[in-house]
């Protein structure tokens, strides 16, 4: 009776995951979708703890350990998620994703240990079971879980470090080839240990998670920071597959459905994100954003730029008919969304039409800017997607760029040697005047120069975005 109840719970949980994911792709229902999936997950966890029986009809024990772990994880996780600043959300997602990957890896290691305990019996010289389909399937899910979970864990940690600036881009000559060789070594090892596992070589198993961790690190290291969202999304779908391996291992349908669902949806999401940047996944993964940095830096750097004072900028905007604000990572870092909204209100009081041009990958993740501006109560219909914004730049008097760089770089359209060539950008140079707020002349996240800053139409307004915006508000108010 109890185990039938658990089956029902698992079916319900699987359905909540599907409905939750469906609702998450609709702005009006997204929040409820998340809550529904969370409710399903809670049900599945509680059901597993109290109702699970293994194949011998044994209930689970070690309740103290289980609840201890859950309480620690829940408290730390909830606090971390509540405390994290809006700007740091992307790296938080990456970190949580890595935790899931590590969890899958540990499950595989424990299960392998469990399996290999038979080897410890003295006198065994051969595998005490017949190599058949069931055993190979069982081993394969253990190996695959260890492999994918480890790659996802290590990769996510590196992505997390890159997003918060702790890890710098790093690549060495022939790294792609080294990575591919390493990948083949891991796959070769997995195949060898599938068919040739015996009491003498079973310890080689531990090489799988170890080499996979190395691979995960090297896999993410050379990829430029601008591409991190895509990488996180890809690693997210990896963890989904790793979770599904656990589903095979325990004959657990809810892990299987949840894992495969996320694996498939995550892969599609990765491709959609690439499309938003007009790049192929292959290009992101083996393209050398980091590697070509030196080449790009040499081309067309230098030149003269002109600075503008805060009061001049305020005058230019207050007397314009239409102002377009282009938010970028600088806005997020400075937490300047409220100041930005205030400036928008001040300008509108003066009769200026104010809109926001949102590049799909502005900030560190797609949708990053929308979330930030929504927090500051900026009205939805003021946010223009890239195509609409590009239509309107021609009739715009002043464009105010707040800490955005690569997404307004005209080199993406004109310079074939540029690493971001082909990425759709906001065509801000169509407007009559461009004011760029940045902290310094340092290149943006992709590490390339932006010729926009040296154009005669462009004026630079150096400083922290929040600080500058507050000064602008004061200046506009006084006009």
């Amino acid at each position: 009776m109890l185990s039938e109840l658990l089956t029902l719970i698992y079916i319900l949980a699987s359905v909540t995951f599907i409905i939750g994911l469906k609702m998450l792709s609709n702005p009006a229902k997204a929040r409820n979708g998340n809550l529904i999936a969370a409710a399903g997950m809670t049900l599945a966890i509680l059901g597993t703890i109290f109702l699970y029986k293994d194949e011998y009809g044994q209930r689970l024990h070690n309740y103290g350990w289980i609840f201890g772990g859950i309480i620690i994880g829940a408290v730390v996780g909830a606090l971390a998620a509540k405390k994290v600043k809006m700007t740091a959300m992307p790296e938080m997602v990456s970190l949580f994703n890595g935790m899931g990957g590590a969890c899958a890896m540990l499950i595989s290691v424990v299960e392998f240990n469990h399996l290999s305990e038979v080897f410890y019996k003295p006198g065994w010289s051969e595998v005490p079971w017949k190599i058949n389909g069931a055993i190979i399937g069982h081993l394969l899910t253990i190996y695959a879980g260890a492999f994918i979970g480890s790659v996802s864990f290590a990769g996510s940690i590196i992505a997390w470090g890159k997003l918060n600036g702790k890890v710098k881009d790093f690549s060495f000559k022939g790294q792609h080839i080294f990575n591919i060789v390493l990948l083949f070594v891991i796959i070769g090892l997995i195949i060898f240990l599938l068919f040739g596992l015996n009491p003498l070589n079973y310890k080689l198993f531990y090489l799988i998670p170890f080499l996979s961790l190395v691979y995960g690190v090297l896999f993410v290291f050379p990829i430029g920071g601008a591409d991190m969202p895509v990488v996180i999304s890809l690693l997210n779908s990896f963890t989904g597959v790793a979770a599904a391996c656990g589903g095979f291992l325990y004959d657990n349908k809810v892990m299987l459905t949840g894992g495969i669902l996320v694996g498939a949806a995550g892969t599609l999401l990765t491709i959609l994100m690439c499309k938003a940047m007009n790049r192929s996944l292959k290009n992101v993964l083996i393209g050398n954003f980091g590697g070509s940095k030196t080449v790009a830096a040499q081309s067309k750097s230098g030149g003269n730029y002109k600075e503008i004072s805060v009061s001049d900028a305020a005058v230019a905007m207050a007397y314009a008919k239409k102002v377009m604000i282009v938010p970028g990572y600088g806005l997020a870092v400075a937490q300047a969304q409220h100041a930005c909204h205030e400036l928008e209100n001040m300008l509108e009081e003066k009769g200026v039409e104010v809109k926001y041009a949102i590049h799909p990958v502005a900030g560190r993740m797609p949708g990053h800017m929308n979330v930030l501006l929504a927090e500051a109560d900026v009205s939805y219909d003021k946010l223009l997607e890239m195509e609409h914004a590009n239509d309107e730049f021609k009739t715009t008097d002043v464009v105010l760029i707040l800490g955005a760089n690569d997404v307004v770089n005209p080199a993406a359209k004109t310079d074939k040697s540029s690493p971001i060539y082909g990425m759709p950008v906001l065509e801000v140079e169509e407007a009559k005047m461009v004011i760029v707020n940045k902290r310094s002349m340092k290149p943006g996240y992709a590490g390339i120069e932006n010729e926009l800053f040296f154009k005669p139409k462009t004026s630079m307004l150096f400083g922290d975005a929040k600080n500058i915006l507050q000064q602008l508000v004061v200046e506009v108010k006084e006009l």
């Binding site: 998340n34 703890i49 949580f96 963890t239 809810v254």
Partner: protein, 103 residues
């Protein structure tokens, strides 16, 4: 091989259907929601916690390696689930607040 397929047909059906469902379900997501959706999917694959609970619950009480690794797995899995859902909710809270004021 054929034997194996027919023995495991349930799984094969689930995998195939879930792949198509996963693709279908998020097919028309606006780019605004890419980040929350990724975060939500991240929380859902936290279902791996169930595996960790089973590992933990099955470990013999004198097998310290399994106990410690299982314990770690439970902590990490819970972090993934709880952190994932809370972060997603925080992101989406902002969208919702906006909507309500508009009406």
């Amino acid at each position: 091989m054929l034997n194996w397929i027919s023995e495991n047909q349930q799984y094969i059906y689930i995998v195939i259907l879930m792949i198509f469902l996963g693709i279908e379900v998020i097919g028309r997501v606006p780019s605004v929601l890419h980040t929350p959706l990724m975060s939500g999917a991240n929380a859902i694959h936290g279902v791996v916690i169930i595996g960790a609970i089973i590992v933990m619950g099955k470990a013999e009480s004198n097998n310290y390696v399994a106990l410690i690794l299982g314990f770690l797995a439970v902590i990490l899995g819970t972090l993934n689930v709880v952190g994932g859902f809370v972060v997603t909710n925080r992101m989406l809270e902002m969208f919702k607040g906006k909507k309500e004021k508009k009406h």
